[in-house]
Symmetry: C2
Subunit: 221 residues, 2 copies
DNA sequence: GGACATTATGTCAGTCACTGACATTCGGCA
DNA sequence: TGCCGAATGTCAGTGACTGACATAATGTCC
């Protein structure tokens, strides 16, 4: 209706080209995820993944920089969602309170939603477990996480109105939070039974509850 | 003099074979470190490193599982030293106090010692800086660090007499400590001038001082 | 000192991740 | 219809890494 006559509007629904690209990308992620879970990350070749989607190996590498990336792509959506949630937290909250609320809210909200698509919550949880027993994936994942932490530093600093180059507290908080979150992930994936998103939330809360007591206080009391 | 007549004593000085092996290993580490610093990690091939020490590529891979490992070997000695220092801390100290004293003591003691050999303090500091701007190395390093953290969990739990499977505090503390330590490393390597071991110690202390304030308290006070 | 087991090393061939160059095809648009 | 640019395929090449096998160096026992 109110569309510009001819000039390409900055916001327009994606054309056939873009949709096809997205479909290829999703198909690659989905095929990779399935193959990785079925036969293991190391025993799956890029050629196999490409063949499963009927594209050339070269095309695969135009979508993903390396084999790790297609595996971790499943988590990207979750991370974006977490950042979004964090940005929406009220300013009154303590930074740590905001971080906790954002991560818990993110898991819960995604857990409640429809569980389809290659980046669903269940896929993310399956991936987290896979990461822990795949050294090369773990390494790539940890690198991503530290990049996310750098982003966190900026958000926290802005929230609190401090200069992250001067005040080291945002960096320290982000690092500690990231570390504890990873401990919770590890604990979850060590568990035999799959407790789903709520199990993960419970573990995250339990770990965060222990952050302050672990630092100070007498452990033998 | 008091040597056993003939039976092979369980403790004996290494023979020619072992010494030669150690020399080859050190030479590989030293050559790799030099080449990496000179022309960058990615632009150095394993063949080059092997050629510099005059061994075959296959031999290189019998000493190190991959290219990352030879680079990070420089840090292995430092990590062992830290663990050693931690084990020597008195039991009265709070876990966090012990961790701090161990990491500071480790850097200081190594900084005071003779600075020769491929795993010297200066080499370690150079490496830390290199890691931060080499994605693949950073990933490998982070994975090693998490393994060390798992070791830390055991040591802390033993110190305090708790069961790490039941009590999550050791895991949380190790994760938080590791995260903060990494933030300090990052901060150090972002600094333009090389402040040496003492500069690193100062940064670690400043970061650890902020751990508790970053978690609680009002940032805008 | 010599025979023998053990271990370190070299050589070779092969797999696989990843990349640059170039040709081809396909979607969007006049 | 015809053109442009983006997406894809093909091909050749590099470099990390591995298994198999032969050879040489070392330690040991007599």
């Amino acid at each position: 209706m109110a569309a510009q006559p001819a000039s390409p509007a900055p916001v327009q629904e994606p054309g056939l080209r873009a949709r096809k690209k997205q479909r290829t990308r999703d198909a690659l992620i989905e095929a990779a995820h399935r193959l990785f879970l079925g036969q293991g990350f190391a025993r799956t070749t890029v050629d196999e993944i490409a063949a499963a989607v009927d594209v050339s190996q070269r095309t695969f590498f135009r979508y993903f920089a390396n084999k790790d990336e297609v595996a971790l792509a499943v988590l990207a959506e979750a991370e974006d969602h977490f950042i979004e949630q964090l940005r929406a937290r009220p300013a009154e909250e303590t930074p740590l309170q905001a971080l906790r609320a954002a991560i818990v809210g993110s898991w819960r909200e995604r857990g409640a939603g429809r569980d389809t698509g290659p980046c669903s919550v269940t896929a993310a949880l399956e991936l987290i477990r896979m990461i822990e027993n795949t050294p090369t994936l773990l390494a790539a994942h940890l690198r991503r996480v530290t990049e996310q932490e750098r982003l966190l530093v900026g958000i926290i600093a802005e929230r609190e109105g401090v200069d992250p180059a001067e005040d080291l507290r945002p960096a320290v908080l982000a690092a500690a939070f990231g570390g504890v979150l990873r401990a919770a992930h590890l604990s979850w994936s060590a568990d035999q039974e799959d407790t789903g998103p709520e199990g993960m939330i419970a573990l995250i809360n339990r770990h965060l509850d222990l952050l302050a007591p672990a630092l100070t206080g007498d452990w033998r009391a």
